[in-house]
């Protein structure tokens, strides 16, 4: 989409993006990887007692173009875009860069059972669900005096 000339209200203009990246510290890093011409998708991770849910936002992608690989502590996602998009990544002057795919590898904070992963694609959003790995061994509570009294 071309930025409307002289209209700074659009909010989605190409020149503006890069300004933001200087103004704010990117905790999660850049959303652009110029070297590999890939976009890092917006992404959300939710961890509950027994499930890890990872959600990726992939506008401009069809379901057959998404490939997901899981290990016990990572999710890797790659997806070709239907058509390439152009963004100006650096502030000020310079040509807009072309991006044709999404790519992101996520380190999980807990271990998961990758064989039981499921994924669903809808409206350019992918949800990956991974059950958490059952780990550890059970610990017996000593049958000492205190415990007996409680029982």
């Amino acid at each position: 989409m071309s930025n409307d000339d002289g209209d700074e209200a659009g909010g989605f203009g190409s020149g503006i993006d890069s300004l933001f990246s200087e103004a704010f510290r990117m905790v999660e890093g850049s959303l652009f990887d110029v070297a590999s011409k890939s976009l890092r998708p917006l992404f959300n991770l939710e961890v509950t007692d027994d499930l890890v849910t990872a959600t990726f936002d992939l506008p401009g992608v069809g379901r057959d173009e998404v490939s997901i690989t899981c290990t016990e502590d990572t999710i890797s996602l790659d997806a070709e875009m239907t058509r390439p998009v152009r963004f100006r990544v650096s502030s000020g002057r310079g040509e807009a860069e072309e991006f044709a795919r999404y790519s992101r590898k996520v380190m999980l904070p807990v271990r998961v059972d990758q064989d039981k992963a499921t994924a669903r694609f809808r409206n350019g959003i992918v949800i990956v669900k991974l059950p958490r790995r059952r780990e550890g061994r059970s610990v017996r509570i000593d049958a000492d005096e205190d415990v007996k009294r409680l029982e």
Binding site: A9, A23, L31, P59
Partner: protein, 249 residues
């Protein structure tokens, strides 16, 4: 016109409007407020008439063709004004900006202040943005509730609103300014143009304006792509320990 508010300046160069309706959008859940306001400005060919500035905001100016502009704009057309922020407001600044907008609206004898935003919804996240999001409304007076009834928004029965829009309602109450807030069920983590479409439908009924949302639906994918960074910054700004006003570092 300039309003005396510690730390916040509203510069509105006019022209004078009788009983304006003021729509307010800042980046929050689903970027619904910013997508809605950007679209209004574009569709109605609104004209820039001022800005909001605050020393509490991150030190950012937008540059387009070498011209620097403030990131919170005021646009106008006929009796409609739009306040649109292109940067996420840090929590501390957001309360002060809301307060200044409420007093400014009152000083213009505004008929209605209309906050537009998203209500992050687990169900919508789970359905991956499928279907048409419902809109709920909140009003602060009889007149505001009457406007809401005309919007077709469902009643907001129980719950809370938080962040900038809660401040806006609170300060509108404090100065006796009629206000409504329209909240579309939205994705919690990603830009949600479909939620903006729902809000615009409701807004059109409140304002008695024909607002065509076809172009917005068509551009939906493009908007999601172009607003990725703003979404990321909005998430970061809302987190504890995120962007703080520089005076509090």
């Amino acid at each position: 016109m300039s309003e005396a508010h510690p730390g916040v300046e509203i510069r509105d160069s006019g022209p004078h409007v009788n009983k304006p309706r003021i729509v307010v959008g800042v980046p929050e859940a689903g970027l619904v407020g910013t997508i809605t306001c950007s679209y209004l400005i574009e569709q109605l060919k609104m004209v820039k008439r001022g800005f909001v500035d605050s020393e509490l905001l991150p030190q950012v100016m937008l540059v387009h063709d070498s011209a620097a502009t403030y990131p919170i704009h005021i646009f106008g057309k006929d009796d409609l004004l739009v306040v649109l922020s292109e940067i996420p407001l840090p929590p501390f600044a957001s309360a002060e900006v809301a307060k200044a907008i409420a007093s400014w609206a009152r000083s213009l004898r505004a008929e209605l202040v209309i906050g537009v935003t998203g209500a992050p919804s687990k169900a919508r996240d789970e359905s991956q943005g499928e279907g048409k999001p419902t809109v709920v409304g909140v009003g602060n007076s009889e007149a505001a509730l009457a406007a809401l009834r005309s919007s077709g928004a469902a009643a907001f029965e129980d719950g809370i609103i938080s962040g900038f829009y809660a401040s806006l309602v609170k300060h509108c109450n404090a100065v006796g300014q009629n206000s409504v807030t329209l909240l579309a069920e939205s994705l919690s983590q990603f830009p949600d143009p479909a939620a903006a479409v729902s809000v615009i439908d409701a807004l059109g009924r409140v304002l008695s304006l024909q607002l065509d949302t076809k172009a917005l639906m068509k551009e939906s994918e493009e908007i999601r792509l172009r607003s990725r960074e703003l979404m990321q910054q909005t998430q970061q700004a809302s987190q504890p320990g995120g962007q703080q006003p520089s005076a509090y570092r």
